[in-house]
Symmetry: C2
Subunit: 219 residues, 2 copies
């Protein structure tokens, strides 16, 4: 029996993009179902009753939730091609550590950059840039976070690239000026079709974020 | 060469307890080094420069940080005994999902119960009890979260048992009255020496939490 793979997704979701990149890396065919943020589908609520969030991977009828957990699941199920996590337990722990850092630190500081103003925004921007620099230091002179191969941490982080233009515009900074090596890494990742075809255009994301910001301002 | 295993720990830390339980389940001898919360050791700052937090497992000189990542590392390195994560990828993903839920939801709502007052505390208490009930529903009639065997989710969650008396006293509720099946599960886990010897006494934790609460009130 062929695998039935469905992804409940939203085009501008960085978490959804992670799953898209992982599936593309593994060459897995799937049906993407676009969710409406303001009117989530009964299928989403049924498949992720706890968090009610995208992305959800539905593999042969069974749901898997939370993007980093989904990417690990994909790596474990389709383990015969394009390994995403290193095989060495210590390296795996390091990869999980940095992916967790990205989840705990990058998303929230980025959120502050585009949803707030004044001092709060300045604090968010400072934090965001510090986190970027921590990640740039961890990357060092390696081509990818895990070394020579594109992998788990790259997937966890490269999705932010699609939001860079929005962060830069609202935060009034340049990632290239602040973290040139990191931007070079992101562009290196974008040369891979699995990444470039899974990430939306930065301008389109910017327009979406600008609309969302107006909504926050109005509230 | 024998493994050199060191744990940078703090006795009342639920995250430290998780690592203690995992090491005990695997029967791994280690040296526990108690940290001073108000004056963290140079070794801790060197081994966890990013988060500067306990626990840190140092295995043959190399640090692993973040409790759930450490427990997975322990399970992968000492894979020949007392498996903690299920071997099936789907069950592994489910175990990771619930451990992640505990980290994202239980700790923060518990924090509100003992550090705040009035409406904020009531909101924290409501959230804390809702989360407990979600976990009780997930447990269902199984002896452990993963089924018949004590495992990853049990380790992630059972450490809260040592803080129950503190939560109950400051929040003015009874876990037994609210979630009798969950309390029966916690007591079942406590029958295991790996758990009972790794968790401090509830009264001692309560006294520690009471002192910490006074400090927060004074600030």
């Amino acid at each position: 029996m062929a695998d039935e793979v469905v992804l409940l997704d939203f085009w501008a979701s960085m978490f959804g993009m992670r799953v898209r990149v992982a599936l593309a890396e593994k060459g897995i065919k799937y049906e993407g179902k676009e969710e409406d943020l303001t009117n989530k589908s009964p299928l989403l609520l049924q498949m992720n009753p706890i968090h009610k969030k995208m992305p959800v991977l539905i593999h042969n009828g069974k749901p898997i939730c939370e993007s980093l957990i989904i990417v690990q699941y994909i790596d474990e199920v389709w383990h015969d091609r394009a390994p995403l996590l290193p095989s060495d337990p210590y390296q795996r722990a390091q990869a999980r550590f940095w992916a967790d850092f990205i989840d705990k630190k990058m998303y929230n500081s980025g959120w502050k950059v585009w949803t707030t103003k004044g001092e709060e925004q300045e604090a968010g921007k400072k934090e965001f840039l510090e986190n970027l620099k921590t990640l740039e230091a961890e990357l060092g002179d390696k081509p990818y976070f895990g070394g020579d191969r594109f992998g788990f941490v790259d997937i966890a982080f490269v999705v932010f690239y699609s939001w860079f233009h929005a962060y830069e515009t609202f935060g009034n900074f340049s990632v290239e000026a602040e973290c040139p090596k990191l931007l070079a890494w992101a562009r290196r990742c974008m040369e891979k079709e699995s990444v470039s075809k899974s990430l939306p255009d930065q301008k389109k994301v910017y327009e979406f974020v600008a609309q969302m910001r107006k909504k926050y301002e109005a509230e």
